[in-house]
């Protein structure tokens, strides 16, 4: 059989351009992985030498050129916990309100635009804002409270958006199915929508924790201590925090050259924490979505 139109030449061209395009796409995506591995490898190789039990459990010594980073780890954990306490309830509830109650009305649209804008604000601006509101106006001083609130504000848009997106991903027919059985809206949200959206919401929350634990600028003016070897005793205490500590010892420490090893060690700890958080997020999502299906 001969084809009606001779397309031999065109067919070959089509195949070639397809091959070229896919090769480029493939190289690009591999290069992303390569860069990630490069960064990780760099940090690990430089920082692994500094890691030891003492490094993780002791305070910095001798002008931060020796000793450990324990107060910074604790500080970061305090800030993460504090900001989560603030942003999770507010964010989840606003997300529910916007997606379940105020769909399509002007208030919701306004809130959505505002939260999107909020997420576009540079983190250093959050820091300045937190300083002027929480530290100065509300007189919290440089404290865990002020820092947590600032970080909470920063992660709020992310929490709202993940909540909203997770809820949006639930097919409307489930809501209708529940409402059609005489359930109220609140019952529908409690018993059907939230359990189904839970795996995705959890993932979003954990990712926001990862984001918060790595931020430097917002804590700069609100909570972070340059050097504070003791642990906090109240929410009005200052703390050290990993990202800020890393910034300090690599730019304005007493002896930058001497603390280089510690800096890489700190960076490694920070990265490992973020990695663990991300892996946890993945694990929990799989775990809960399986649970939702089989419950």
């Amino acid at each position: 059989m001969t084809p009606i139109i001779n397309t031999g030449n065109i067919d070959r061209k089509k195949r070639i351009s397809q091959g070229v395009a896919f090769t480029i796409f493939k190289l690009m995506s591999y290069s992303v992985v390569a860069m990630l591995i490069l960064i990780l490898g760099f940090i690990v190789s430089k920082g692994i030498g500094a890691i030891s039990w003492d490094f993780l459990t002791k305070a910095p010594e001798e002008g931060m050129t020796k000793g450990g980073i324990f107060p910074a780890i604790v500080g970061t954990l305090c800030l993460v916990a504090g900001s989560s306490l603030f942003s999770f309830p507010i964010g989840i509830m606003s997300g529910i309100y916007m997606n379940e109650y105020a769909t399509g009305n002007k208030v919701a649209t306004f809130i959505r635009i505002m939260t999107n804008n909020l997420s576009g604000v540079p983190s250093v601006v959050f820091g300045l804002f937190g300083m002027s509101l929480f530290v100065n106006t509300m007189k919290f001083g440089d404290s865990i409270l002020a820092g947590s609130l600032t970080l909470g504000l920063l992660s709020l848009p992310l929490v709202i958006r993940t909540t909203e997106e997770s809820l949006k991903a639930i097919d409307n027919s489930y809501r209708e199915g529940s409402l059609a059985l005489g359930a109220t809206k609140l019952q529908t949200i409690q018993k059907v929508v939230l359990p189904m959206a839970f795996p995705n919401i959890i993932t979003g929350l954990i990712l926001s924790i990862g984001r918060v634990s790595g931020e430097t600028a917002p804590i700069l003016f609100t909570v972070a201590a340059y050097f504070l070897p003791k642990l906090p005793t109240s929410i009005f205490d200052q703390v050290m925090a990993l990202p800020y500590h890393l910034y300090v010892i690599s730019t304005s420490g007493t002896d930058i050259e001497a603390s280089r090893g510690i800096a890489y060690g700190t960076a490694l700890v920070l990265i490992v924490i973020v990695l663990i958080v991300n892996l946890l997020a993945n694990f929990l999502r799989n775990y809960f979505s399986k649970k939702v299906k089989t419950n």
Binding site: S173, G177, A180, L181, G182, A183, T184, K293
Partner: protein, 259 residues
């Protein structure tokens, strides 16, 4: 004389002069329909003709959509369901609904059927258990699930899921069962099971079903209403509609000569 008898007979569904708007769009135009108890009524018509909209008026599902407006009245067993003193969640106990896509909740088979009872405040365990089993049996699903009531509903096949959804709707003992293309997402075997089920259920319930499948409408229903562009063109006995419709438009649609 005859009109007296007609008035005495209680109509399960009685819609009078119903007009419905989505914002500016006039989706239903002066619909009048009367449905007697234990009858199956099929709503047919091309996509966008208003048949689903009408169906969803009967359990006030359209209330969920912003910017809609309805005039006229819908009586279910003599009660005006759009009266101000009617609570939507109470109405929906009386008027069950089955949707196009099977939508079981992410719960066990048992809990799916018990859901309607639980959200309506029933706590009596033995009552719930009896009602759940009875409903699953009515939905012709018992033999297939009796050994796995605590398994997830998602483990069932599409057809089984849809019958589970029917069981779920039956559990709260509605008077009317609305079905919005209940078999359109199912294979032929499951479809015929659903159709058989509708035939059985009509002994106890009044059913209104939207379908795009002409043969299905003719097989399961006693009466058929043909909708076109928001109007109810013809409403008559199914046998009449499918052998000798009065309106040319109806004939063109059911014979497939449409547009």
């Amino acid at each position: 004389m005859t009109s007296d008898i007609r008035h005495k007979k209680m109509l399960t569904i009685d819609a009078k002069n119903v007009d419905f708007y989505y914002s500016e769009f006039h989706a239903l135009k002066n619909i009048n329909i009367e449905v007697e108890k234990n009858k199956v009524v099929a709503l047919i018509g091309p996509s966008g003709c208003g048949k689903s909209t009408f169906l969803r008026l009967l359990n006030r599902m359209n209330d969920l959509i912003d910017g809609t407006r309805m005039t006229g009245s819908v009586l279910i067993e003599g009660k005006d369901i759009y009266a101000p003193n009617i609570h939507v969640d109470e109405l929906r106990k009386e008027v069950g609904m089955v949707f196009q896509k099977p939508n079981p909740f992410p719960k066990s088979i048992f809990e799916n059927v018990a859901y309607g009872l639980r959200v309506n405040g029933i706590k009596d365990k033995t009552f719930i258990e009896e009602r759940v089993i009875e409903s699953i049996k009515s939905a012709a699903l018992w033999n297939e699930v009796k050994d796995k009531l605590n398994k997830s509903a998602f483990a069932l096949s599409g057809g089984q899921q849809q019958r589970l959804c029917i069981a779920r709707a039956l559990a709260i003992s509605p008077k009317v069962l609305l079905m919005d293309e209940p078999a359109s997402a199912l294979d032929p075997i499951s479809t015929s099971k659903i159709e058989e089920l509708i035939y059985e259920l009509k002994k106890d319930y009044t059913i209104m079903i939207v379908t795009h499948n002409m043969q299905q409408a003719s097989r399961v229903s006693d009466k058929t209403a043909y909708f076109y562009l928001g109007e109810m063109i013809e409403y008559d006995d199914t046998i009449k509609i499918f052998t000798n419709p009065t309106e040319l438009s109806t004939q063109n649609y059911i014979t497939g000569r449409f547009g």
